[in-house]
């Protein structure tokens, strides 16, 4: 210590030691900074948690309550359930897609466009994947039941499906040329809906003939 305070007399050094010893171990800031920090963190979260959990002025839980909470385990809230459900759905979709990948028909997006347009088109067409998957599933089921249909009925179904598929190809081509067009998107969705509905009807007919 003397090395650090070479200019102090022994008496001054003793008084300094006493003063230091009298200081508190920690000093609280003049105002609580944590609420502001928490607020900024919360503002950037994707899933907002209930505000009361982190409310700066909320009364602190009493020790007994804290113990009770600890025994309950993690608190189940709607946002947490929603987040868990979203993860489950995404995982399920990914798994289903992986399992059905070979059956999905890929449409060719022909027109040339800039990279931004290509990106938009890719995003646009991604939303039709669920239609494609449903249609592929229904088509596979129909193929299995096709033997139960008479040739004339099969011809009617095939003719109608060709009409629908041609319409889908035309509408998708138009959407590829104008990916931002909500109207074009509506046309594509409309024909897809009709395809899925038609395949369901065709399956109903085939199932009936198989009974």
């Amino acid at each position: 210590m003397n090395d650090l305070t070479p200019d102090l007399t022994p008496d001054e050094t003793r008084r300094l030691r006493d003063a230091v010893a009298a200081l508190p171990e920690s000093v609280d800031p003049e105002r609580d900074l944590w609420p502001d920090i928490r607020e900024r963190i919360e503002a950037t979260r994707v899933v907002a948690l209930p505000r009361e959990q982190f409310a700066p002025h909320a009364p602190r839980a009493q020790p007994a309550q804290s113990a009770q909470s600890a025994h309950r385990g993690p608190r189940v809230t709607w946002p947490r359930l929603a987040a868990a459900a979203a993860v489950l759905v995404l995982a399920s979709v990914a798994l289903t897609r992986w399992m059905t990948e070979p059956a999905v028909q890929t449409m060719v997006v022909a027109p040339a466009m800039d990279s931004a347009g290509t990106a938009r088109a890719a995003v646009s067409f991604a939303s039709f994947d669920s239609f494609e998957r449903t249609a592929a599933d229904l088509s596979a089921t129909l193929d299995r039941r096709a033997g139960q249909l008479d040739p004339a009925t099969r011809a009617v179904l095939e003719r109608s499906l060709r009409t629908i598929d041609q319409a889908i190809a035309e509408a998708r081509e138009a959407l590829a040329a104008d990916p931002a067009s909500a109207a074009m998107r509506g046309f594509v969705e409309s024909v897809y809906r009709q395809k899925v509905d038609f395949l369901r009807r065709a399956n109903d007919v085939a199932a009936l003939r198989g009974t």
Binding site: T153, V156, A167, A171, A183, F187, S190, F198, R201, V205
Partner: protein, 292 residues
């Protein structure tokens, strides 16, 4: 001599044909609001509503076919099964049911006719024509390749074809009409809330509109013809390739709106505080014609 031989030959053929058929004559008790399920995959079936609490089946079916039927006072199931033999291997049935019963009929190469039912009716054929007359509370009717004709004003209507034409003479509060390549025509009544969808089939809306109507037509390549009401205010939103008859009297052809900017046309100005019937027409490749 030749006349005599021809007559004998005709008689022999008639006897032979009659011999290839067997009669059907069955009866079932059914409550007025009971359920009836019927199957006949080839031939015809005519369903007639009456004011008795019973089901009566009459007709003929080919040799080799078998009639089945049974159930309770609340539900009866009946039909014809088996392929039969010969070129005329069909079954032709006339079925009387309580008019308020809930009726379900399925056929394949079957012509189906329904008359005088006011309950819930669900009809489906594949290649046969379907004709329904009357005003069922709910009507679901479908045929793939045959013509579907509805004469009357059901409470709720869902009608579908694939290649067959769909014709509706009547009106109603709620209707959905769908076809792939068949032409869809409505006439003879007032439409309320209606939706018409085709892929390549043309659409002709020639009937009237209720003042509170909300009608949507969507087609990929079908053309759309719309009769503009003379007195009911109507706002038309058209997203089509071309429109003719916009001015009605002059039949002038006007350019359609851009895809991103559908054309808005108002007819018959509504009274203050009143509203206009709303019609929305979208066809990717088809044009539109307005008539009066």
């Amino acid at each position: 001599m030749r006349t005599l031989l021809t007559g004998l030959l005709g008689a022999a053929l008639a006897l032979s044909s009659a011999g290839a058929q067997q009669p059907v004559d069955r009866r079932f008790a059914l409550s007025a609001t009971g359920f009836v399920k019927m199957y006949n995959f080839t031939g015809s079936i005519r369903v007639v509503g009456w004011d008795k609490d019973s089901v009566v089946v009459a007709g003929t079916m080919a040799r080799g076919m078998r009639f089945f039927g049974g159930g309770s006072r609340e539900a009866v199931k009946l039909g014809v099964e088996g392929e039969g033999s010969g070129a005329d291997a069909t079954a032709d049935l006339v079925v009387h049911v309580p008019a308020t019963a809930n009726v379900w009929v399925r056929g394949a190469a079957t012509t189906i006719t329904v008359e005088g039912l006011i309950g819930s009716v669900d009809i489906g054929s594949v290649a046969g024509a379907v004709r329904i007359t009357g005003a069922p509370r709910e009507l679901f009717a479908e045929t793939m390749d045959g013509t579907l004709e509805i004469v009357g004003s059901p409470g709720v209507l869902r009608a579908k074809t694939a290649t067959g034409a769909l014709r509706w003479r009547g009106g109603g509060a709620e209707a959905t009409l769908t076809s792939v390549s068949g032409e869809v025509t409505t006439d003879g009544g007032s439409l309320g809330r209606a939706r018409v969808e085709t892929v390549s089939g043309n659409v002709l809306l020639l009937g009237a509109l209720r003042p509170d109507a909300s009608v949507t037509v969507e087609s990929h390549s079908g053309s759309v013809t719309l009769r503009v009401p003379r007195d009911v205010p109507m706002r038309l939103t058209a997203d089509v390739v071309s429109i003719s008859g916009v001015g009605i009297a002059g039949k002038a052809t006007a350019p359609a709106g851009r895809r991103s900017d559908p054309r808005l046309l108002d007819y018959n100005k509504p009274k203050p505080g009143g509203r206009a019937a709303e019609v929305s027409v979208r066809s990717f490749k088809g044009g539109m014609e307005l008539r009066q």
